[in-house]
Structure formats: structure tokens, C-alpha cells
Symmetry: D2
Subunit: 110 residues, 4 copies
């Protein structure tokens, strides 16, 4: 999907999916499995990403003139979180939604 | 739809739709139209409802043992906000998503 | 301090202190120490408590008619989180701010 | 106060004060007075600023590596919101806390 075809609604949906998928995986999977799943940097990135998506949803849905800053930050954090989930392993759903959210937030930020 | 058939995912989706629909309508429609649309109690209820949905999404997606309190509060606020939108008029999308969110939050809270 | 003498501003301040203290301890201390500090139920309670305080601050500062529900939920979560921090040990600052926040939220909810 | 002497705790405190002051003024004062106080752009900026402060508090208190992006965005929004409050008039507390928050967020972002 070319960035130019991503609508604000697509981006909202991707942020929503990313926020809830990460929240569910962090609390239901990572905290249960332990080990690399609860490594300081990984959990911090999961929390960053959940918060970045929530802020992005908030600013986009309020038609804010400042939404691009929040989409830009969200894209960067999704990249870092997706990389961390890939490294930890067994978190394919998280990797997938982070990549999708990163792509749409990058498009919205430009 | 019977309450008993409402899943947590349905409730999440309804809260997400309600949060973003209200945010878009408040900033893009109510604040532009003025009059009854910016009456103190109405705007306060719109803000309450957006925040209640966001908290509900957060607690449900984190598998929190305390999500029922937030679903219960969200149901009450959706009721009040839907009533206010109905009274102000010309806000059918808001009324509809508030009613749907109220129903699913009530189901989740029980 | 008797509950009857707790003002809304006191409660706001206690919620703010509790939110930021827990966030700092969770990411800077618990996630670094591991062990009981990253046990599923403990981290979930820390996240619940941070979110409960944030919601409480939001509803109280917006003069919401619904703030009591959020204060009540916050009081319950602070109780559970304070107990968990006490059990885990070495988290005296968290225990202290949870107890203080619980007390003021209980007062605000009544 | 020189920017170089502003601590993270100062910035947190200023963000907290700005968030709650704006929330209280928006719902208790602007929505009651009407007129320029409920003009679309002004209310949108008040909501942006409340959300920017909340995100900034969240990322700073969680020791996030990405807090600078949120401090930078918050500084820009505080500038715009402070200007709007100045223009509307009768909002000296808001102007003051926006300026203070802008200064400390600028320092944190650098």
C-alpha cells in the first residue's frame, strides 16, 4: 500500500489496533512469560508505543493542527518497538501491527 | 443484539468509535456551529465521554481486573452524553455511537 | 489528616505524585531489578494505578460531574497497588504515595 | 530562571500545573462565558495543550528515551495556547502557566 493512499481513518484504525494489541500482549503474554519479555528496554518500548498510539489517536481525532508531531513521534516509536518485539521473538502480532502503524503514521506526518 | 453476546472486542471497538466520533464532532462541528453546541454542560459531557471511552479502552486492553468500574462509569457517561446530543440536535452519529457504546459497556460491567 | 479536610487540590496533588512516582519506579527500578518486581500481577497493578491516577486528575480538573466514580476506582486500585508494593518490598515511596492517594480519593468519592 | 537550571522535576510540575489549570479554566470559565472564549481555534488549542501536557508528563515520568519529542511538541503548543489565551483576554493564569510550561519543555527538549 503506497503511503499516498493512506487516509487519516486508516491511520486511526492502525493506531487503535496497535495500542490494544500491545496492551494485551504486554499484560497477558510478556508479563507471564518473563525472561527477555520483561527486559527493561523491551517493556519500556511497549509502554512508549501504547502511549504514542493513544496520543496520536487523540490528536488526529480532535482535528488538531499539531497532529503531525504526534504521528512523527509515533512512527519512530513504532519502529523501535517493532524491532524490539522481533528480537524478543514470538511476538508476530506485535511486530505486524507496529510495522503497519509506523507506515501510516509516517504517511500522516509528511 | 443481546448483551450476553457482546464480546470484549466488540466493546473495545465501540469505545474506539465513540471516542473518535465525539472528538471529531466536537472540534469540527460543535465548536464551528456555536449556540447550543457549545453550551457548557454539553461540551463537558462530550469531553467526559471521550475521556471515559479512552480509559475504558486502556483498562480493557490491559486485561485489568478493575476494568468493570471503568466500563460502568463509561456506560453512565455515554447515556448522559447521548441524551445531551439528542437534545442539541443534528448530532445523529454521536447519539448512535453513544447508545452502542453504552450498551456494550453495560454488558462488560456486569 | 481527617478526610473531611482534604480539598480537591490536595487530591489532585496526591494523584499527580502517585502517578509519576509509580511510573518512575516501575521503569527505573522494578524493570531493572526483575524477580518479584516484574511479577505479572504486580506490574499490572502498577499500570492500573498510574492510569487510575491519570483518569482521576483528568476528571477532577475538568470539573466533571462524574469525577466521584473515577476517585472511587482510583482509591480501590491504590489500595491494591500499595499492598502489592508492600509485599514486593523495597518500594517504600510507592507504598507511601499509594496510601496518601487512596485516602484523598476516598474522601473525594464520598 | 535560566533554562539550564530547569530540572525534569520542575518540568513535570509545570506540565501538571498547566494541564489542570487549563482544564479548570476551559470547563469552569470559557464554557460559561462563551463568545471569544468558545471560539473554535481557542478551544482546540486549550484541548491540545491539556493533552500535550498529559503526554509530556507520561513520557517524562516513565523515563522514556523519546520524551524529548513530546517536550518539543508541548513547548510549541504551549506557545500557541498562551498566545490565544492572551488574545482572548481575562485568562492571566492560563497565559502564565503556558509560558512557564513552554520554557521548561523547551529546556527539556534540547
Amino acid at each position: 500500500m503506497a503511503s499516498s493512499t493512506i487516509s487519516k481513518q486508516d491511520c486511526l484504525t492502525n493506531c487503535q489496533e496497535c495500542q490494544t494489541t500491545l496492551a494485551t500482549m504486554l499484560t497477558g503474554n510478556c508479563l507471564q512469560q518473563g525472561g527477555a519479555h520483561v527486559e527493561q528496554n523491551h517493556v519500556k518500548l511497549m509502554l512508549d508505543c501504547m502511549a504514542a498510539c493513544a496520543a496520536c489517536i487523540d490528536f488526529m481525532s480532535r482535528n488538531s493542527d499539531f497532529h503531525k508531531s504526534y504521528c512523527q513521534a509515533c512512527a519512530e516509536i513504532c519502529k523501535a518497538c517493532g524491532d524490539s518485539c522481533e528480537e524478543v521473538g514470538g511476538m508476530d502480532d506485535c511486530v505486524k501491527c507496529c510495522r503497519k502503524c509506523e507506515e501510516s503514521c509516517t504517511a500522516m506526518a509528511s
